[in-house]
Symmetry: C2
Subunit: 220 residues, 2 copies
């Protein structure tokens, strides 16, 4: 019983701080995009392809979440995009980001004029989906190499996201993947979910993804 | 402060039950193998390839851990191997297995004569590594499609495992993967770790993996 009480308290605190973050993003007219996936689905690579064309029109910033290393933040910094790395060993949960980590990171970022803030969550299909960060949009990233069954095995994540990027589609000819079954599994947990086929190798899907992002830009 | 106390209590309870499980496996002369990986690395496929040749010599059983669905248990049952599915929504942690879940599942399995028990953990590179199940061996499964950086980004898992199965190596010709860097990253967190290259498509590595398993069979 004591355990349940403590967990409720933690969740409430997160929800309160997430609401603060949401208000902050609305006031600053920033679209905050929370990218969630299992390990190695290609979130950082998606950002590496997304940021150069996006920042030509709209300034952007990135918060990177990882248990350890600054490897992803270095890949973003190489694009001249402001980035803060959260190592969850030290702040927030170990296997996911929490709203307090985002709030702390926001204070470290130059946000003047920024219109898109990407949050790359810890690579994990479970816990990140449970924690509101106050973000504007939740985006799932799933690699076609992960098999057909992930949407039904990790239903919460696929239920809460606003868009699914299906990555590494250039590998489809080399995989024994039943793509129709994968898409049917997506639909079984989130009937209307938009799915964008994406390949960092061929460039497939990049224009569609950018268009979707720009469609969510708040009026200034 | 209250939260820290509660977490300590939970961890202690798990360690106590894990010790009970370890004693049980030693008495019954069962090798319990805890398979851990991110989502879609191929744990169930590894079992589908491992069990048919293994059970011709040694009876085996399987405990499947998933948040939702019995999809993996059905794939094991199709091989005529006894299997219990744990759906973590109802028992133990949501994003990992705990020792109590294993103990509960053991009571449901016909274990007479069984020498290998495989535990397929929830697909997650973070939390499963933190919880002792009382297993004999911890095995990591990493797909070459997940990139070079996973060992340094999820160091605990790669530090605690006894062997790493590097899966989907048949895809290497189609990937931009620096295999040497991946192996150097593995060594940087666990210098002596044995790595077995594995492909369910070509059969590469299956004999080496079976030999390693059989080398850990307890004398009867």
């Amino acid at each position: 019983m004591a355990l349940i009480k403590v967990l409720e308290k933690v969740l409430d605190a997160n929800d309160k701080i997430a609401a603060d973050n949401r208000r902050f993003f609305a006031e600053k007219k920033i679209v905050a995009v929370n990218l969630m996936s299992g390990p190695g689905a290609g979130k950082t690579t998606v950002l590496e392809k997304t940021l150069p064309p996006l920042v030509r029109k709209f300034p952007a910033a990135v918060i990177e979440g990882d248990i350890a290393t600054t490897a992803d933040a270095e890949r973003i910094a190489a694009l001249d995009v402001p980035v803060v790395q959260i190592n969850t060993d030290k702040l927030g949960g170990a296997c996911h980001l929490e709203a307090l980590g985002i709030q702390t990171a926001l204070a470290e970022l130059p946000l003047d004029g920024v219109r898109y803030l990407f949050v790359e969550n810890v690579g994990n299909l479970v816990c990140p989906a449970e924690f509101d960060l106050g973000e504007t949009l939740k985006v799932g990233v799933l690699s076609v190499t992960e098999g057909e069954d992930k949407p039904v095995k990790y239903p919460l994540l696929f239920r809460v996201i606003d868009l699914l990027l299906l990555t590494k589609v250039d590998l489809l000819p080399h995989l024994r993947l039943d793509l129709d079954r994968l898409l049917a599994n997506v639909r079984s947990v989130n009937a209307g979910l938009r799915v964008v086929r994406f390949s960092a190798v061929t460039g497939e899907g990049l224009a569609e993804w950018l268009e979707w992002l720009e469609g969510h830009a708040p009026a200034r």
